[in-house]
């Protein structure tokens, strides 16, 4: 007869109560794992999105850097315009490994969002676009036939959504222009998948923005040259230089306050669970006062009693930890779907990433929670004097 077997049998006596307490711990652990998984997933997704933009530095027209950072993630540029002359100046800089000009423009499309209307995003790109994003492959078709061709290349999801194939005609509302689908990109897992690309010159012509750009993406030969490069462009009028490291830092700073909030929720959930466990075990100890007295009368030491009660509490938390982890794994995609509906910007990829390390640490956390929660009830039980416990329990 081992202490663990005694503890297990004790918990089985009040099955519903034990199950509810385990459930309470499980919910707390599931909340913790989901929130931590979201934190991990969001950061990973964001990092991946930024890295997959292909450039280390973005030059945009002067404006709010936060707005620019957000717009970059939504398509690679802002809606402020700068002169194309800037591009001509930078292209010959010996530090530049690759450079691509971009022109983003939005058009109101009354058919978008199931007929409710919305903004359609078009991006004018240069052939050098592929130099910065060498991983992009064509699912079908090819690059534009000419630099001013009236053609588009569609991102994977944009083509899937509109059921387009090569040779199809695309109508741009408002401008009353019809363009031909020249190519469709493979899926990249980035925001590029949802965009429609057209030749930079064509975009400048049909949107009435000759020699205008919204952004210039640059990849430097040496990453250590970023600071000096930024410094040199500091005096250039009407533009701002944003490094991707800065963007990442800015966004991570922005979400860090949300992280504090989510961590607080997790801590509250755990605190409530601990109180629930302490309450359940204390109740159980009081109900078994007489039995504890008997155990002491037949030779149990204070430590024997302490150990039994401590094991009971830990068992509850171990089961709760397992249940919570399973629940978090099963519900991860559901949580992700809900979060995507709530968040104004959600990076691509899985938004909730539950790693083995996270599961292990949450499980260990549940065990520690059990050990801590069990101390007071175990001390109460172990400090009972045998004859008093037997009489009090009568």
């Amino acid at each position: 007869m081992k202490s663990i077997a005694i503890a297990f049998k004790n918990l089985q006596r009040k099955k519903i109560r034990s199950f509810l307490t385990v459930g309470g711990v499980g919910v707390a652990v599931a909340v913790l794992v989901s929130l931590m998984g979201f934190d991990e997933g969001y950061q990973r997704g964001l990092r991946s999105d930024i890295d997959k933009m292909g450039f280390q530095v973005l030059i945009t027209a002067k404006g709010c850097p936060y707005e620019a950072a957000t717009l970059m993630l939504k398509g690679g540029g802002g809606l402020r315009y700068m002169d194309q002359e800037v591009y001509s100046k930078i292209i010959n800089d010996p530090r530049v490994a690759a450079i691509t000009p971009q022109l983003v423009h939005t058009v109101y499309d009354p058919d978008k969002n199931n007929g409710q209307g919305g903004l359609a995003l078009y991006m004018g790109i240069h052939r050098s676009f592929l130099d910065l994003k060498p991983w992009i492959k064509f699912k079908s078709g090819n690059w534009f036939s000419q630099d001013d061709a009236e053609e588009v290349i569609m991102g994977y999801e944009a083509a899937e959504f509109e059921q387009r194939s090569i040779g199809d005609k695309i109508f741009i509302p408002g401008i009353e222009k019809i363009l031909t689908v020249a190519g469709i990109f493979e899926r990249t897992g980035t925001q590029d998948d949802g965009l429609i690309f057209l030749p930079l010159v064509t975009a400048q012509n049909i949107f009435g923005l000759p020699d205008q750009l919204t952004g210039i993406g640059i990849k430097l030969k040496e990453i250590s040259q970023i600071a000096g490069f930024e410094e040199d462009l500091y005096d250039e009028p009407g533009i701002q230089v944003i490094s991707m490291a800065e963007v990442r830092g800015t966004i991570f700073n922005l979400i860090s306050s949300a992280k504090v909030m989510t961590n607080s929720i997790a801590i509250i959930a755990i605190f409530v669970a601990v109180i629930g466990v302490v309450n359940t075990i204390l109740m159980s100890v009081f109900e078994r006062t007489k039995e504890i007295g008997v155990m002491k009368a037949i030779g149990a030491s204070r430590f024997d009693i302490f150990r039994i009660i401590w094991i009971e509490t830990t068992l509850i938390c171990v089961w709760g930890g397992i249940m919570g982890n399973l629940f978090a794994i099963i519900a991860a995609r559901l949580v992700e779907h809900m979060l995507r509906g709530i968040l104004p910007y959600a990076p691509s990829g899985h938004l909730v990433v539950i790693t083995g390390g996270l599961l292990l640490s949450s499980f260990m956390g549940a065990i520690i929670m059990g050990l801590v929660a069990g101390i007071y009830p175990a001390l109460r039980a172990s400090s009972m004097r045998p004859i008093e416990a037997i009489r009090r329990g009568e």
Binding site: A5, K290, M295, I298, G299, S301
Partner: protein, 234 residues
């Protein structure tokens, strides 16, 4: 001359009830030798249970001196008293006090577990056979009759091979037949194994079967003359 298992001098236990002091055991001098079968008799509130609790190291002594197997326990701390309850002294209660979630066999194993004794299962089975419950080992206490439960309690007490067996009204909740069976087990243990047994009982028919009877009244041992009067009264 055999060794005294229990030796008490001016043994006193005082309970405080608000401002009033109640002498549950009052200045008792007592010596119980190894191999004796002693019954404690007396009316309710005479101090039988309290005296047993003190001798069983379950309760603390207020005044006086108490020795168990030559060791003074009157001033011992709870941690030291555990050593006596673990394999030296075993206790049997009127209400059996088995652990309801454990089977009969597990209840017996429990005392061995707390006494740090190995080979729990084999030894427990032997003891269960000895008290005639070899066929009821996997039954929970609620599935057993009163007599069977008390026999499980006896098996639990005997499993640790104690030197002193204390029983507080062990037949109080049993019918006449079961009560006699339990007493017969005690007599057999005393006669065949030489186990020292102290039994508190109301039942004179059973109590007088012991080799020595001690009568208590108001926490004190009373004389033989007074005890005869007491026996006549009941």
């Amino acid at each position: 001359m055999s060794t005294p298992v229990i030796k008490a001098n001016n043994l006193t236990k005082i309970y405080k009830l608000f401002a009033e002091e109640i002498y549950a055991v009052n200045n008792i001098d007592l010596e119980i030798r190894c191999g004796e079968f002693v019954s404690l008799m007396g009316p309710s509130g005479s101090g039988k249970t309290t005296l047993l609790d003190l001798m069983g190291c379950l309760d603390s002594v207020s005044c006086g001196r108490l020795e168990v197997l030559g060791n003074e326990v009157s001033c011992a701390r709870e941690n030291d008293l555990v050593k006596y309850r673990r394999g030296i002294i075993s206790f049997i209660f009127q209400e059996f006090l088995l652990i309801p979630s454990l089977t009969a066999l597990e209840n017996v194993e429990l005392s061995l577990h707390f006494s740090r004794m190995t080979k729990e299962r084999k030894h427990s089975l032997e003891i269960m056979e000895r008290v005639g419950l070899g066929h009821r080992i996997n039954h929970l206490p609620k599935q057993l009759s009163g007599g069977e439960r008390q026999r499980v309690a006896i098996a639990r007490a005997l499993a640790v091979s104690p030197q002193l067996l204390l029983a507080d009204e062990p037949t109080g909740n049993l019918d006449t037949k079961s009560a006699q069976e339990i007493f017969s087990i005690f007599k057999k243990l005393n006669e065949e194994d030489g186990l020292t047994i102290i039994v508190a009982t109301h039942n004179p028919k059973l109590g007088l079967q012991a080799s020595r009877t001690i009568f208590l009244q108001d926490g004190k041992i009373i004389s033989k003359e007074k005890s005869s009067l007491f026996l006549e009264m009941i």
